[in-house]
């Protein structure tokens, strides 16, 4: 039985602004302090205050913060007094954006703020990430995210979609330093991944402001309209997946209408170099599409905000005069869950 399709609505919802904290190896600020600043930074240029915000949705992760109910403190940052329509996802801020996008479609409110935040510096990824794996079969192995990424990198290389040289080139473009020869002279961290193929540890937060049609037009010259938005998940166990493919990305891109026109830029949440090459292939992006001009997750990887930042950079392209941009976010081992957001300027 084919899933029945939801009817489409014509309501327009746009990103009208966003802000991010300085992306640093370690911050002394708490998550609430980071959010306090970044929400103000996102609202102020629009002439908006917290009182103008009808709905908030925050994305963060207790295990990254190292505390149960960690997001409760973050209520201080959204100015929830009087109380706010509010929600929280234990997901990257990109999914918080998805919830806000749905909520705005209900049509009774105008402005939403979404955030993603995380301070990865306080923990050891090698200890934390195994805990997101199947607790019966995979977590007991204690394999860290670099190990799983290396397995996928091998599959991507075997499929002819990447090699160590092209991966090094991705790293050089993202970070703007080094030569292929220099990078390939480095030791493996997990073969075939070297230090340059890995993301940095980053503390940071991002906040984004959404507005519905008419309000968006009042607030900025060129709102970044969300014209396609979809996310999909896959089987969890990487051993049961084809790691040289990303079917959930493909479905999400099709449902978001990626093929309805050409995009000028693509911001892909690729924490490892081979992931960018795989996603580039799966999304069938033309060679002239500018990919991760921001430097991507290889340059700054604020866990729980990395995906939202991708959408922020794609929105910047529209706000600055571009026509169509693609943003991608991911979660889980070896790109298990993928989100695609298409942003377009006013026609």
């Amino acid at each position: 039985m084919t899933p029945r399709r939801a009817p489409k609505t014509s309501k327009d919802i746009a990103v009208v602004g966003w802000a991010q904290t300085p992306m640093v190896r370690q911050t002394d600020l708490t998550e609430a302090q980071m959010l306090l600043r970044v929400i103000t930074d996102a609202l102020a240029p629009l002439g908006l205050t917290r009182a103008d915000v009808d709905f908030t949705c925050l994305g963060s992760c207790d295990y990254i913060t190292g505390q149960a109910f960690s997001f409760v403190t973050n209520l201080d940052a959204i100015g929830a007094w009087p109380p706010k329509r509010d929600s929280h996802v234990e997901m990257d801020g990109a999914w918080a954006l998805y919830e806000a996008w749905l909520r705005l479609h209900e049509g009774d409110i105008e402005i939403a703020v979404v955030t993603g935040s995380g301070r990865s510096s306080t923990g050891d990824p090698a200890l934390i990430y195994p805990m997101e794996m199947d607790p019966y079969v995979l977590a007991p192995l204690g394999a860290d995210p670099v190990t799983f990424a290396a397995l996928q990198a091998r599959a991507v290389i075997a499929a002819g979609l990447a090699d160590e040289r092209s991966m090094a080139e991705v790293a050089i473009r993202a970070r703007g330093k080094g030569t292929v020869e220099e990078l390939l002279a480095g030791e493996y961290v997990r073969e075939p991944l070297r230090r340059h193929d890995l993301p940095p540890v980053t503390d940071g937060a991002a906040a984004m402001v959404l507005a519905i049609g008419d309000r968006a037009d009042e607030l900025v010259d060129r709102p970044a309209y969300i014209t396609g938005f979809d996310h999909r998940t896959e089987c969890h166990n990487p051993a049961f997946r084809r790691l040289d493919d990303s079917p959930s990305t493909r479905i999400a891109a099709a449902e978001a209408g990626l093929g309805n026109g050409r995009v000028e830029v693509a911001e892909l949440q690729a924490a490892f170099t081979h992931e960018e090459l795989l996603l580039h292939h799966v999304l069938e992006l033309d060679d002239d599409v500018k990919i991760n001009q921001s430097g991507g997750a290889l340059k700054a990887n604020p866990i729980m905000a990395t995906g939202l930042c991708r959408i922020g950079y794609a929105a910047d392209h529209i706000l600055d005069g571009g026509a169509r941009a693609l943003a991608h976010a991911t979660s889980g081992p070896c790109l298990q869950q993928n989100l695609i957001c298409i942003l377009e300027g006013p026609s």
């Binding site: 084919t2 149960a68 109910f69 509010d86 794996m133």
Partner: protein, 383 residues
């Protein structure tokens, strides 16, 4: 906004330890019951929304990743909500939003907690020593309520007895205390004054699932749908002078918001029953007042005169409530699901005769996160 309704409800057998199932097995038990009730299969589901309380309860970070397979979400959108104790309610609200926004037609909302995997009291304190636990956090609010309202001591005992008697009529409930009595509650150990042991919720393993679909899907359902006439979620910060955790603004706003959406002007008269999130006995009169079901300071009188019993004029927590079953992440969704069952006429032995309109609410953190909905067996119950 697109009209939507609950067309399937399922829950697990709840107990202290469900050692017979994995996390995946637990959520599937609830999911299949909800799909069977809706006469659907996973192929009919367009998106899955999963809610649970802190991941530290089971020690699995972002378990929606691992549970994607068990929940049949592969190739579909899988969304994860976490709003503290209110999360089960918020899961229903967010799932409804998926449909109301016109972006998904049929959505499965699932919430669970398998508290036997860890130590909930330890987790509630973020693993720090000297955790005061939930009871310790709420006791001051309850004392403040008693002080303000002048309610007599036995009100808490009466709520505890009522909900445990109701649980005896609910085949899924965790606590089954056959010989429950005022004497027994009164003589149980004092835990966090004024909360006695038998006025406290248990720690449970369990899951709940509901299927929400759009108007056309609900009209085609073979069983009576529970139309979702209003949903709301509100949050407020922890503490500052002027905030009142006994009568939280966020709770009042949620109630007023759903009443407005549903066209309710006299909630006590127009609503037939409520499933309120009551993990400690005294919260029943507190929430009755914060939903305008009783005047301020007089909610306890509805308990005292038996109004909130199944045969009373305004039955509350006919399922046995959180006092009888508390898989924390699922406890909110259980309220929303039980309210749906009541208006669908499928609540079994704890059915309120002729229930047409029901209220459900869940709250989280220190009376800070609220989620509410109103369901009915009619899209226009008030003509």
């Amino acid at each position: 906004m697109i009209a939507c309704a609950v067309v399937g409800v399922g829950q697990t057998q709840h107990s202290k330890r469900r050692l017979d199932v994995s996390l995946g097995g637990l959520v599937r038990e609830a999911m299949f019951r909800a799909l069977d009730d809706a006469q659907m299969t996973m192929a009919d589901i367009d998106a899955v929304v999963l809610g649970k309380a802190p991941d530290i309860f089971e020690g699995v970070m972002k378990p929606e990743l691992y549970l994607s397979d068990a929940l049949g979400a592969v190739g579909k959108p899988m969304f994860r909500v976490h709003t503290a104790g209110s999360v089960g309610g918020t899961t229903a609200v967010v799932a409804a939003s998926h449909v109301q926004a016109g972006k998904h037609r049929t959505v499965l909302a699932v919430a669970f907690e398998k508290q036997s995997e860890g130590n909930a009291q330890f987790a509630l304190g973020s693993g720090r020593g000297a955790s005061i636990g939930a009871g310790g956090a709420f006791a001051p609010f309850l004392r403040a309520y008693i002080h303000r309202s002048g309610a007599p001591e036995h009100i808490g005992w009466k709520v505890a007895v009522k909900d445990r008697l109701n649980a005896l009529k609910n085949p899924y409930a965790h606590l089954k205390i056959e010989d429950i009595s005022i004497e027994k509650v009164k003589n149980s150990p004092m835990m966090w004054d004024p909360i006695r042991f038998l006025e406290s919720c248990p720690s449970s393993d369990g899951a709940c699932a509901v299927v929400i679909t759009d108007e056309a899907g609900a009209m085609a359902a073979s069983r009576t749908p529970a139309w979702i006439l209003g949903t709301s979620s509100r949050s407020e910060p922890l503490g500052f002078p002027g905030r009142d955790p006994v009568r939280p603004q966020a709770c009042l706003q949620c109630a007023e918001d759903v009443y407005r959406q549903a066209g309710i002007t006299d909630p006590r008269a127009q609503i037939d029953m409520a499933e309120l999130y009551v993990p400690f006995s005294w919260l029943e009169p507190i929430w009755l007042e914060a939903h305008h079901l009783a005047p301020e300071g007089e909610g306890w009188k509805m308990v005292d005169d038996g109004s909130t019993e199944i045969g009373g004029s305004f039955p509350v927590n006919c399922s046995g409530g959180v006092l009888s079953t508390n898989p924390i992440g699922a406890s909110g969704l259980l309220r929303f699901a039980e309210a749906a069952n009541q208006v669908r006429g499928t609540a079994g032995e704890h059915q309120v005769d002729g229930a047409k309109v029901a209220l459900a609410m869940a709250y989280g953190a220190q009376n800070q996160y609220f989620s509410t909905w109103i369901v009915s067996n009619s899209l226009q119950p008030f003509g």
